[in-house]
């Protein structure tokens, strides 16, 4: 058999090497021979199938087809490339591509010979392609392909929907129908890339629809290759990018607007620039209104797509304006809510009641309008009007949102500008005040600089914040800057003492005391340079500076260098001390001689005795004056010494009065004195005060005879009063009489002798005893001089 089909053996081995299966059947359909590929492809053993009907191999569904083919071949026909499925040993369906022909012997058909190629894998792939094609066709994303010449090859349903072209209308046509002219160069570049086998992703394009309107898309373009990997075309996956483009357009507008709005605080200028941004992407013309000072909306900017029409649009305002309270702009500003008229139909225009406005509206070709408020702080400061006269641009809610955002940003910018101008105005005002302040401060500075007194300022915490040159100099600094830098340096330079020679308590300096609220504190202190031992004196006065609420915010210290004054005082004290000393010596000898004269006169009954006695009296007065002068000098220098002892004030009064009564014949001194209390005091000094009171009473009541002395127990203190009925003291003088060298002058020009220091010394003495001293008096009716002394507390 084999020899009859394949007579040459060498072909037989070749057949067995071939990938296709060679086989033969008898007229009953039984397999007579099979090449070895049968085993490789199907997994069956050849020997099991020889003599078995072919139909056993055929996949059930294909059996009728297979039988039909078998009959046809037996009837003499050839069958070429017919697909029949067979079953493999492991149960898979294999697709065979069968080519069959009748086997003839001497003109008679004796069987069938055939070749079968396993096309299972190829078929599977082919099915997959079909599947993909379906997917592409039913995809929501527009997909189309084109050849290298740009002719469209495929066009899915989504493409039909997006671009408006039916597949049957566009396939075979050139893709240039979709491409706007302005992107010609980009398209050429694209084609180059495709031809080079590179794909392009996320390409943003604007294509033209069948209705000539434009559609933004995002495309991915991939090259198509044939079996030989040659580029034969490109497939375009497109995506409608309208929303994204709109968002981008909005973002672009808002970004630009923000830039414009923040570029300057001259908001009229910026709004003029802003409205130009609307053209042409957002509006065919636009306008900005701002509420003016009188509360009326004034249009401050207008822009038109056609520059020629800007003037015309500007004039519209004058003609028709927004004075009408029913106008859209006025309403939007009043309500603060945006208005949108997405589609303005001719009917709508015709329904405008006002003829002028109706005509205008028609002339403006209004198709769609948006008006948004310029909002700031929830207030509408104005409005932006978007007008579309393009049929294809109808404002929608999403557009309105963008416009509203623009309105908010512009409103904020106006508000910012206003705030800025207010701030600037305030700033200018402050600068003006600042200049004036600076000027006066400079002037003050010059004054302070040249003032001889040291002036320092401490803040509320006591920190030194200002010092003039004099203050620095007084405190031992080379400059006031140094003083402010290192205010404690002076403490190490100087030893400071009070007038009484005590250490200065720095927490108690007048500045500190003023901060604590003490009124007009002051202090005199000396400071001794530790190196040079030079002693200088300063008087420090502090005055508070209060803020509007009365709180102390700073303290001014005035430091007076009183060294020279102190030196003069010291010299004066020395002088008085020496002078009184020098006076005392001759007085002493005069007294002595007078004593001798008196005893002589007494012995010899000499009539000059009374003269001598008068000399003695006068000498005593002179002695008193000298004592007063000395006391004064000692008071001034703080050298008046006190020797305290406990004694009966009542007894003292009696002694003093008795002594004084002897010296006056004219006055009668009456003592009311029932108090038996003791005081701790300097007896001599207190008697000095009493003598002063009594001699004054005598002196200032020359025409009266009566003087009353009263001692009263006032609990913690005893009170001594000396009353006269003389000339009295004027109200104004009640305080002054305790001053140094003050003397009461009677209107009658009668003068009273004396240095005017007796009461001054008395006050110093009583104050040192922690008592009080004062006078009650009526002019012309006499005076009552009083002092108190604390009673002695017995210590155990």
């Amino acid at each position: 058999m084999e020899s009859s089909i394949l007579p040459e053996k060498k072909y037989l081995s070749l057949i067995n090497l071939a990938p296709d299966v060679f086989f033969s059947l008898n007229t009953n359909g039984e397999l007579r021979s099979l090449s070895s590929s049968f085993e490789r492809i199907t997994g069956w053993k050849r020997k099991d199938w020889i003599g078995v009907s072919f139909s056993k191999l055929i996949y059930k569904k294909d059996l009728p087809l297979a039988r039909d083919l078998f009959k046809q071949v037996l009837s003499g026909k050839n069958v070429k490339s017919c697909e029949v499925k067979i079953m493999s040993r492991d149960g898979n369906v294999l697709v065979g591509d069968f080519t069959l022909m009748p086997e003839k012997t001497n003109g008679h058909i004796v069987g069938i010979v055939g070749i079968s190629r396993d096309i299972t894998k190829w078929k599977e792939r082919s099915n997959l392609y079909k599947h993909y094609a379906n997917l592409v066709e039913s995809s929501d994303g527009p997909i189309y392909s084109r050849d290298l010449n740009g002719n469209i090859i495929t066009w899915n349903k989504a493409s039909e929907k997006l671009f408006g072209y039916k597949a049957k209308d566009i396939i075979g046509k050139n893709v240039s129908a979709l491409l706007p002219r302005e992107i010609k160069n980009e398209v050429q570049e694209l084609n180059r890339r495709i031809k080079n086998g590179r794909s392009v992703e996320d390409l943003e394009l604007v294509l033209i629809k069948k209705n000539k309107s434009r559609i933004p898309i995002i495309a991915k373009i991939s090259p198509i290759k044939d079996k030989k990997k040659r580029i034969v075309g490109a497939v375009v996956f497109a995506r409608d990018n309208t929303e994204r483009a709109r968002e981008e357009k909005a973002e672009k507008l808002l970004a630009k607007a923000t830039k414009v709005l923040s570029s300057s605080f001259e908001y009229e200028k910026t709004l003029k620039t802003l409205v130009k941004l609307l053209i042409p992407d957002w509006a065919d013309w636009g306008a900005v209104h701002v509420v003016g000072k009188e509360g009326k909306a004034v249009r401050i900017a207008v822009a038109h797509r056609d520059p020629k029409k800007v003037k015309w649009a500007e004039n519209l305002e004058k003609k028709y304006g927004t004075k009408d309270r029913n106008s859209g702009v006025a309403q939007v500003i009043e309500s603060g809510h945006a208005g949108i008229w997405p589609e303005i139909t001719e009917e709508l225009l015709r329904s405008i009641p006002d003829e002028k406005q109706r005509k205008l509206a028609i002339r403006l070709h209004l198709k769609s309008i948006m008006i948004v408020p310029l909002v700031a702080s929830k207030r509408a400061l104005g409005a932006i009007t978007f007008v579309s006269s393009d049929e294809s641009r109808k404002y929608r809610k999403k557009d309105l949102k963008v416009a509203e955002e623009l309105g908010r940003r512009a409103g904020q910018a106006i508000e910012n500008a206003r705030l800025y101008y207010e701030a600037e105005k305030e700033l200018k005002k402050r600068k003006r005040i600042g200049r004036a302040l600076r000027q006066s401060r400079d002037e003050l500075e010059i004054i302070l600089k040249n003032v001889a007194d040291g002036i320092t300022v401490q803040d509320a915490r006591g920190q030194l914040v200002y010092a003039n040159d004099a203050a620095a100099q007084v405190s031992g600094y080379s400059s006031r800057e140094e003083m402010i830098r290192n205010p404690s340096k002076s403490l190490s330079t100087f030893e400071c003492e009070t007038e009484n020679g005590e250490q200065v308590d720095f927490a108690n300096l007048p500045g500190r005391r003023a901060l604590k609220g003490e009124i007009d504190p002051q202090m005199i202190m000396s400071y001794i340079n530790k190196d040079t031992k030079e002693r200088r004196w300063a008087q420090i006065k502090a005055r508070p500076i209060r803020d509007e609420d009365g709180r102390i915010k700073a303290v001014v210290n005035i430091i007076n260098d009183i060294t020279e004054r102190k030196e003069l005082e010291r010299k004066k004290d020395d002088f008085i001390s020496i002078a009184s000393h020098e006076l005392k010596t001759p007085v002493t000898s005069i007294k002595g001689y007078l004593h001798l004269l008196m005893s002589y006169a007494e012995k010899h009954n000499d009539p000059t005795l009374s003269h001598i006695q008068k000399i003695d009296n006068q000498l005593n007065k002179l002695t008193e004056l000298i004592h007063d002068l000395l006391d004064l000098s000692r008071l001034q220098s703080g050298k008046l010494l006190y020797s305290m002892e406990e004694f009966s004030i009542s007894n003292l009064i009696q002694e003093v009065v008795d002594d004084l009564q002897k010296t006056t014949n004219h006055h009668a001194i009456e003592v009311k004195n029932g108090v038996k209390r003791k005081v701790m005091a300097d007896k001599d000094r207190i008697s000095q005060v009493l003598i002063n009171f009594l001699t004054n009473a005598i002196k200032y009541s020359p025409d009266r005879k009566h003087i009353k002395v009263l001692l009263e127990d006032k609990g913690e203190v005893v009170q001594v009063s000396v009353q006269d009925f003389g000339i009295g003291i004027h109200e104004d003088e009640k305080e002054k009489i305790f001053d140094r060298f003050y003397r009461v002058n009677d209107k009658s020009d009668k003068t009273f002798p004396g240095l005017g220091i007796g009461l001054y010394i008395s006050r110093e003495i009583i104050m040192r005893h922690e008592g009080k001293i004062w006078v009650e008096s009526t002019k012309g009716k006499g005076s009552v001089f009083k002092f108190t002394l604390p009673v002695a507390h017995k210590t155990i």
Partner: protein, 127 residues
Amino acid sequence: MKKKILVVDDDEAIVEVIQLILEDQGYAVVTSDNGDIFDLLEKERPDLILLDVLLSGHDGREIARLLKKDVTKKHIPILMISAHPTAAATASDSGADAFLSKPFEIKDLLSLVSKYTKKNARITCIS
């Protein structure tokens, strides 16, 4: 025997008037117008010294101090006299027995002189 009193003062008038007054009262008086009184004291042996605080060339207080240190002389009472206001304190510091401020009352001078000469008499009596 008359009590002897040494009056030391650089003011002639004072020395003279005190001398006159005391002599009038029956005292014997020796005088010095300066502080060099130690030789004089050896010679005269006074019962009381009236000593001015401020002497030209000498300090009365210093003299008083020296006298009070000297065993042979410290028994002599010293009545210090001064015009200086603070002298009272320094007088007692320097060991003076009494102090009299210028200008003084003659009666005060006499009572002090009398007091200290009697006192001294009593002491000498005992010794």
